[in-house]
Subunit: 211 residues, 2 copies
């Protein structure tokens, strides 16, 4: 088998793949995950056949497009978990993850969608969820985080943040910080008053499955 044509082919294929992923990332960020595959093909300048050969399902494209952002979120959680003050760690996760999400409209949906076919993506999210659950427990034991805060409330925080980000355009980072300022005050154990019951919304059950 002659080496050169094969290498050129591989370089072309890689190039197409990068263009698709970059276009997908931009398109999801701007319009959300509901955007049709044809729009991503159009923006990346590749044909629909090429797009579907590289990414047979939207799920495969979404998880590829958001792998870096997921890694960034997971790093925030891992880093916060090493803070000797678990309440400070808890606040850092909320603030930093919401700041990341506020600039990328597609990421919150990606983060909160179940992707049964994307095992590596799912496994990383689940691991981070476990680390954050430990942080919640320790911040509660330290008497700083209110006892009735549950993991499902993180889903609410992310969805609330995404609604604010989607509706405030260039002001999204400022608006997101203000909202998180309010919410973090309400999460303090000190002065906590009774709350309506939590919503049954897990991190992977907020949105329908994307296929």
């Amino acid at each position: 088998m002659p080496a050169k044509p094969s290498r050129i082919l591989r370089a072309d294929a890689l190039n197409n793949r990068l263009r698709i992923v970059e276009a997908a990332r931009e398109t999801f960020a701007e319009l959300g995950l509901d955007v049709p595959m044809s729009e991503i093909a159009r923006r990346s300048g590749v044909g629909a056949a090429t797009l579907y050969r590289r990414f047979p399902t939207k799920e495969s494209l979404v998880t590829e497009a958001f792998t870096d952002q997921l890694a960034e979120c997971v790093a925030v959680v891992d880093d916060a978990a090493t803070d000797p003050d678990p309440w400070r760690g808890f606040c850092a996760v909320i603030e930093k993850v919401c700041a990341l999400h506020a600039v990328d409209r597609g990421f919150t949906s990606a983060f909160l969608t179940a992707f049964p076919g994307a095992l590596a993506f799912e496994r990383e999210r689940e691991r981070a969820e476990g680390v954050f659950a430990g942080l919640i427990r320790r911040a509660q034991e330290a008497g700083r985080l209110r006892a009735d805060f549950v993991l499902a409330d993180l889903t609410l925080v992310l969805l609330a943040n995404s609604g604010v980000a989607a509706g405030t355009g260039d002001a999204a980072p400022v608006a997101s910080r203000r909202l998180m300022g309010y919410l973090l005050q309400s999460f303090r154990a000190e002065g906590a008053a009774p709350l309506p019951p939590p919503a049954p919304v897990g991190l992977d059950r907020a949105y329908g499955q994307q296929n």
Copy 2:
């Protein structure tokens, strides 16, 4: 002029108008305001020409579709303003308006969009905004609402609520109540800690203009 055919024509036209507005309300509630006019024509079963004859702009259709909901919100604000306890009135507005918005995806966008051509709609919203601003001031003077709460924070509350409602499906009413429970605690003057600065987002500036 013979009376009968003219009356039939008017009845037909009225019927079309009602079908269009009903289809628009359902479509906006399900898909948001970005849905194309062609989809509303399809769902209402009228031709595009008929749709545009009745509603030359999307703005005219949006304001017609949400007039009843706006009236309901305005009634909530007017009613709360008569409460001798301004903090209880303030909380009632947040809770009731967010409960109304949680079941209708289109309404938050409609409520937060500027409609320069729809004077009656704009005027009603502005009047309600003024009444609510008075309620804020009185609840602050009573020492119950934190002094740094501003009207723009209501925009954040509505957008956060809309993000939660959009992402939680059937659980939206429960999720919305939980989020409002947290936010109302953070709005209390008692125990209020410093906050990040407010976002420059007025009630009519959160979304771009719809035309």
